[in-house]
């Protein structure tokens, strides 16, 4: 047993933080929090605190990256040095580059990039505090930031993870479960079309467990979707 690993993950049907197996952590989303960015969002998801900012469409620098038929979408995921227990060495690393890439691929299918040829749409995701599930938090925040910037989109993109701890399939793991659990499955979807734009897996599931976890994660996404819509409505004071 490793240091910090709990003896049991689930006691009397409740998880270590008191949640049920299929319960999300508390999520707060706020749109339009930054004045200088074209669009922004701040998300608190359990212990995660993530800020997303969006710029554009704007001219592409360096020029050779521009596409003459569509806008390019650029995503940058970054963790603040103080976002984790041990100081995170600042700057891009293997992990953040991977997350930047999957975030872009999760968002790209919904953005009408064909409307803005020769431009770039930039999304910056800053993790201020991490507590497992930051890539999902980041995608959820980035999609609200894009909407806040007025960039045409087919839909919002909610994201949520499911996983396996103590032999049970659970929704939205927090850090202890994530560190010592058996599997993790982050998912992002396009809710209306029920299409999956992000699907990663870390650990081992049986096929039945995988299917159960995926279903659970999609249900979680739908709840996040409602919160995203609510956040946008609240910002612009409409019914």
């Amino acid at each position: 047993m490793k240091v910090g690993e709990p003896e049991k993950f689930i006691v009397k049907g409740k998880r270590l933080d008191g949640r049920k197996l299929d319960e999300l952590r508390e999520i707060k989303i706020e749109a339009g929090v930054l004045k200088r960015a074209d669009g922004s969002a701040y998300v608190e998801w359990g212990g995660n605190k993530v800020m997303a900012a969006c710029y554009g469409p704007r001219e592409v620098h360096p020029r050779h990256l521009a596409r003459s038929d569509k806008a390019i979408l650029r995503c940058t995921y970054n963790m603040a040095p103080f976002s984790v227990n041990d100081r995170k060495r600042p700057g891009p690393d293997r992990r953040s580059r991977e997350i930047s890439k999957v975030t872009r691929e999760a968002l790209e299918p919904v953005v009408f990039t064909n409307l803005f040829p020769r431009t770039a749409i930039d999304v910056f995701i800053e993790v201020l505090q991490a507590n497992a599930g930051t890539r999902c938090t980041g995608i959820a925040a980035a999609s609200v930031a894009l909407a806040d910037a007025g960039i045409p989109m087919r839909d919002l993109v909610p994201a949520c993870a499911a996983g396996k701890v103590g032999g049970e399939i659970v929704l939205d793991m927090f850090d202890v479960e994530d560190n010592f659990g058996e599997a993790d499955l982050p998912v992002a979807i396009i809710p209306r079309k029920k299409e999956i734009t992000l699907l990663q897996m870390d650990g081992n599931f049986t096929q039945e467990e995988f299917e159960k976890a995926l279903k659970l994660a999609v249900e979680g996404c739908m709840k996040v979707y409602e919160l995203q819509k609510e956040a946008l409505r609240r910002k612009y004071g409409g019914a």
């Binding site: 469409p57 009408f112 040829p117 020769r118 087919r154």
Partner: protein
């Protein structure tokens, strides 16, 4: 109010900006308000960058001077081009240094003449309203708020101009240029900021009027 991906309506409509069709249903692609007129449906956006349209007046800032044209920043996704021939009809570019006419940093009030299929934006000074802006102050509002600043039949902007005795030009790209006495410009800026902040509320004209009457006397 609608948000991206929200179902607006089903049926046969012509599609304007901010909407898209998927399997016969029409959805919004941006945040905004639905506007339907004579079978033509669109969403008036609440936020977003300025997208140039032909015949729009814009306030541009010269960023670069070339042999036969200027490059102009119009605070949009695309920068604009002002050809020398769009400045003087009979210009001889071999005899004239364009930098002596307009240098980087100069402001102009110009009209969008053409947008090419590759989204190159051409602006022109060959219009009665177009001019070079000297002095004054530049203000920036959201391009989606510009119709409110101008008002119906330019009622709002005329009122602000009349009461503050300022020279004010509003570009569709959200830039506003003001010229006059410093005190009066300050007032006009305050009023325009009020309009931007409360653009979505009713009875705005009355409140602006009250503010102007109150402040002008002091």
């Amino acid at each position: 109010m609608v948000i991206p991906g929200e179902l607006i309506i089903e049926g046969k409509y012509k599609l304007g900006e901010g909407v898209f069709r998927e399997q016969g249903k029409i959805y919004s692609s941006v945040m905004g308000f639905v506007d339907e007129k004579k079978g033509y449906i669109r969403v008036i956006p609440l936020t977003g960058k300025y997208m140039p349209k032909v015949e729009d007046f814009v306030i541009g800032k010269i960023t670069d001077v070339q042999f036969s044209h200027w490059e102009v920043d119009i605070d949009s996704a695309y920068s604009a081009i002002l050809n020398a021939s769009d400045y003087f009809r009979d210009i001889d570019i071999f005899q004239t240094a364009l930098a002596k006419i307009l240098a980087p940093g100069d402001l102009i009030f110009a009209v969008v003449r053409e947008i090419s299929p590759t989204k190159k934006v051409y602006i022109t000074m060959a219009d009665r309203g177009a001019r070079i802006l000297k002095g004054g102050r530049l203000l920036k509002v959201g391009p989606t708020k510009v119709p409110r600043v101008i008002g119906k039949n330019s009622s709002m902007i005329s009122m602000i101009k009349k009461e503050t005795k300022c020279d004010i030009l509003v570009g569709q790209n959200g830039r506003i240029w003001l010229n006059g006495e410093a005190e009066r410009i300050n007032l006009a800026v305050k009023v325009i900021e009020l309009v931007e902040r409360e653009a979505h509320t009713a009875g705005l004209t009355e409140r602006v009027k009250d503010m102007l009457v109150r402040e002008v006397k002091v």
